[in-house]
Amino acid sequence: MNQVKRVFRGFRKEATYLIGFYKERPLSAFGLFISMIFVFLAFLGPTIAPYNPEEASADFLEPPSQKHWFGTDRSGLDVFSRTISAPRIDFTIGLVATTLAVLAGVPMGVIAGFLPGWRGSTISRAFDVLNCLPPFIVAMCLVAFAGQSILNVIIVLALLNAPLFVRLVRSKVHSVKQRKFIESATCLGNSQTRVMLHHVLPNSLEPVLVQFPVNVGWAILTTAGLSFIGAGVRAPTPEWGSMISIGAPLLITGQWWVAIFPGIAVGICVLGLALFASSLEILLDPTRG
C-alpha cells in the first residue's frame, strides 16, 4: 500500500513539474495541445465527422457553407469530414513507420558505435552510401513497384528513416562511451554486453526521443507527397496529400477549398509535432533551455 502511495506521489510531483514547465512556455504547450488533438482525431476522427468521408453525395463542388464547413469536392465528398478523418491514416503511418525505424535503427546504432575499430566504421561508411540515395524518389519507386498500400508506405518509410536513427545513436554512443561512469562500470567487472545494454544504451536514447516527433512529421509530409503524385494512398481513402492532389487542378478554376483546407491541416499537424519535439529537447536536457 505504501509502495502504491509513493509511486502515486512521485507521479503527482512529475505532473506538477510538467504543468509548470508547459505553463511557462506557451509555444511548447501549443505544440503539445496540437499533437494531442491529432492523436484524438486519429482515434475518433471518422466517428465524429458529420459525413461519411468515403461516401459520394450529390452536392458537387459546393463552396464552404453551414452545411459543408469546408465545402465539397468533385465527387461530392465533404472536405471537412475527410480532413478530420485523415489523421487516422496519416498519423498512423507516421507513428508506426517511425516506431519501426527506431526499433531497427537503435540496435544497429549501438552496435556500430560500440564496436571498436574498423568494424564500427565499416557500418558507418555503408550507411553513408545510403545517404546519397534521394529518399523521396526511392520511396516513390518502392511504393509504386511494390504496390500501393498503406502497409507498403509504412515499410518503405521505416526503411528510409532507420539510417537516421543509426547515425544519431552511433554518435551519441561514441560520446557516452568516453565518460567516466562507463569506465567505472567496466572496471567493476561488468561484461561488455551488460555495459552496453545497461549503461550506454539508456544514456544514448535522448536524441532518439527528441527526433521521434520530428520524424513522425517528416513521415506525414512524405506520405502526403507520395499520395500527391499518385504513388501513395489511393483516392477514396481520406489522406491529406491525395486530397490536395484532387484539389490542385480545381484551384485554377476557382474551387480553392478542396486543396487549401487539407494543406492547412498538414501544416498545423507537422508544426505541432515540431514544437512538441523542441519542448522535449528542453525537458530532457534542462541546461539547454
Binding site: A126, D128, V129, L130, N131, C132, L133, P134, P135, F136, I137, V138, M140, C141, L142, A144, F145, A146, G147, G217, L221, A224, G225, F228, I229, G230, A231, G241, I244, A248, L251, I252, G254, W256, A259, I260, G263, V266, G267, I268, C269, V270, L271, A274, L275
Partner: protein, 337 residues
C-alpha cells in the same frame, strides 16, 4: 598542402567502391522489386511467345548477377539502356531534361542561400528581437508545409487571384519557341541568341517554381546560420575581438567566415532531400525536367529510365559529399582526418 593532397587522394580512392556499391544497390533495388518490366511493356494479354522473345531480347532471362555485369559494362561506355516510354536512350533523355532542373535548382537555392544567410546573420545579431522571432516563426512554418502545397498556394495567389504570373504549365508560354540549344537553360540560351522576348517569358515562368523552392529551403538555411552564428558570436576569439574594440561589422564578418562551413555542409547534405522536393515542385508546374521524368518513369514501370535517373542523382550526391570533405579540409585547418 600535403594534408589536403592526402584528403583528395583517399577520398578519390574511396569513390570506386562507393560508386560500385551504389550502382549495385540501385540495380538490385529496382530489379528485385515485384512487377515485371516485360509485362508492363506488353500488357497482360500478350501471347507467351512474344513475352519470352522480348525477355530474351532484353537479356532479362539471364541470372541477375550476369544482368548486373552487362549493365555495368554498358554503363562504362556511357550507355544506360533505352527507355521504353520515350523510345530513346536513357542517357539522351537525362541530358535533355537535366538543364531544366538545374536552372530551377540553381536559382532557387541561390536565392535561398542569399536570403537565408543574410537574415540568419542579422537575426543572430539581436537574439529575441522582432526579426529574430519572426525568423523562428517562418522557419517553423516553412518546415511544416509540404513543398507542393507551397507551390499550389503560389499558383493560387499569383495566377488565379492576382493574375500576375503566367499560366503555370511548362517553361515557356505557347507563343514562344525555345531558343537554340546551347546549355539547355532557357535564360542563358535566350541571352546568347539575343531573343529578349523569350528571355522575359522564360523568366516569368521561372519565378513561381523558383520562389516555391526558395521559400521551402530558406527556413532550414536561416535556422542553421542563426544557430551557428549565435554559437560563434559567443566564442572566445569573438569576445577577444570585442574587447580589442573591433567594429561590429568586422566582428560579424569574422564570425560569418567561421559559420560558413556548416552552412555549406548543410546545402550539400540536403541535396538528396532537395531532389525529392524538386520532383514534387516540377509536378505542380509541369516543368518537364528530371523530376517529372522520374515520376513518369515510375508510373509507367520504365525500369531502365528509373535506374538511370537514380544512378545520376546519387552519383552527383556522392561527388558533392566528396567535394564537401575536400572543401572542409581546405577551410578548416584544425580538422583531423
Amino acid at each position: 598542402m600535403k594534408r589536403v593532397a592526402s584528403v583528395v587522394f583517399t577520398r578519390c580512392l574511396l569513390i570506386v567502391p562507393q560508386v560500385l556499391g551504389l550502382s549495385a544497390l540501385i540495380f538490385f533495388l529496382v530489379r528485385l522489386l515485384p512487377g515485371d518490366p516485360v509485362i508492363a511493356r506488353l500488357g497482360g494479354h500478350a501471347p507467351a511467345l512474344t513475352i519470352d522473345n522480348l525477355r530474351h531480347q532484353l537479356g532479362l532471362d539471364l541470372p541477375l548477377h550476369i544482368q548486373y555485369i552487362h549493365y555495368m559494362k554498358d554503363l562504362l561506355r556511357g550507355d544506360l539502356g533505352d527507355s521504353w516510354t520515350t523510345a530513346q536512350p536513357v542517357i539522351e533523355d537525362l541530358k535533355m531534361r537535366l538543364p531544366a532542373t538545374l536552372e530551377l535548382m540553381f536559382l532557387g537555392m541561390g536565392i535561398a542561400l542569399m536570403v537565408g544567410v543574410i537574415i540568419g546573420v542579422i537575426s543572430a545579431g539581436r537574439p529575441g528581437g522582432l526579426l529574430d522571432r519572426s525568423t523562428i516563426f517562418y522557419t517553423l512554418l516553412a518546415g511544416a508545409l509540404p513543398e507542393f502545397y507551397i507551390g499550389i498556394i503560389m499558383v493560387f495567389l499569383f495566377y488565379v487571384v492576382w493574375g500576375l504570373a503566367p499560366h503555370p504549365a511548362g517553361r515557356l508560354g505557347l507563343a514562344s519557341l525555345p531558343p537554340p540549344r546551347i546549355t539547355g537553360m532557357y535564360l542563358i540560351d535566350s541571352v546568347i541568341a539575343g531573343q529578349w522576348d523569350t528571355f522575359r517569358d522564360a523568366l516569368g515562368h521561372l519565378i513561381l517554381p523558383v520562389f516555391t523552392l526558395a521559400f521551402w529551403q530558406t527556413g532550414a538555411i536561416m535556422k542553421m546560420t542563426r544557430s551557428t552564428m549565435l554559437q560563434i558570436l559567443d566564442s572566445d576569439f569573438i569576445n577577444y575581438g570585442r574587447l580589442v574594440g573591433l567594429k561590429p561589422a568586422i566582428i560579424r564578418r569574422y564570425a560569418l567566415r567561421n559559420a560558413l562551413p556548416p552552412i555549406i555542409g548543410l546545402t550539400v547534405t540536403i541535396f538528396a532531400v532537395l531532389l525529392g522536393g524538386i520532383v514534387l515542385i516540377e509536378q505542380v508546374f509541369s516543368w518537364g525536367g528530371l523530376g517529372q521524368y522520374s515520376v513518369e518513369a515510375v508510373t509507367s514501370s520504365d525500369y531502365e529510365a528509373i535506374t538511370g535517373f537514380l544512378m545520376l542523382a546519387s552519383t552527383i550526391s556522392l561527388l558533392l559529399f566528396i567535394m564537401l570533405d575536400i572543401a572542409n579540409a581546405i577551410i578548416d585547418p584544425r580538422l583531423e582526418l
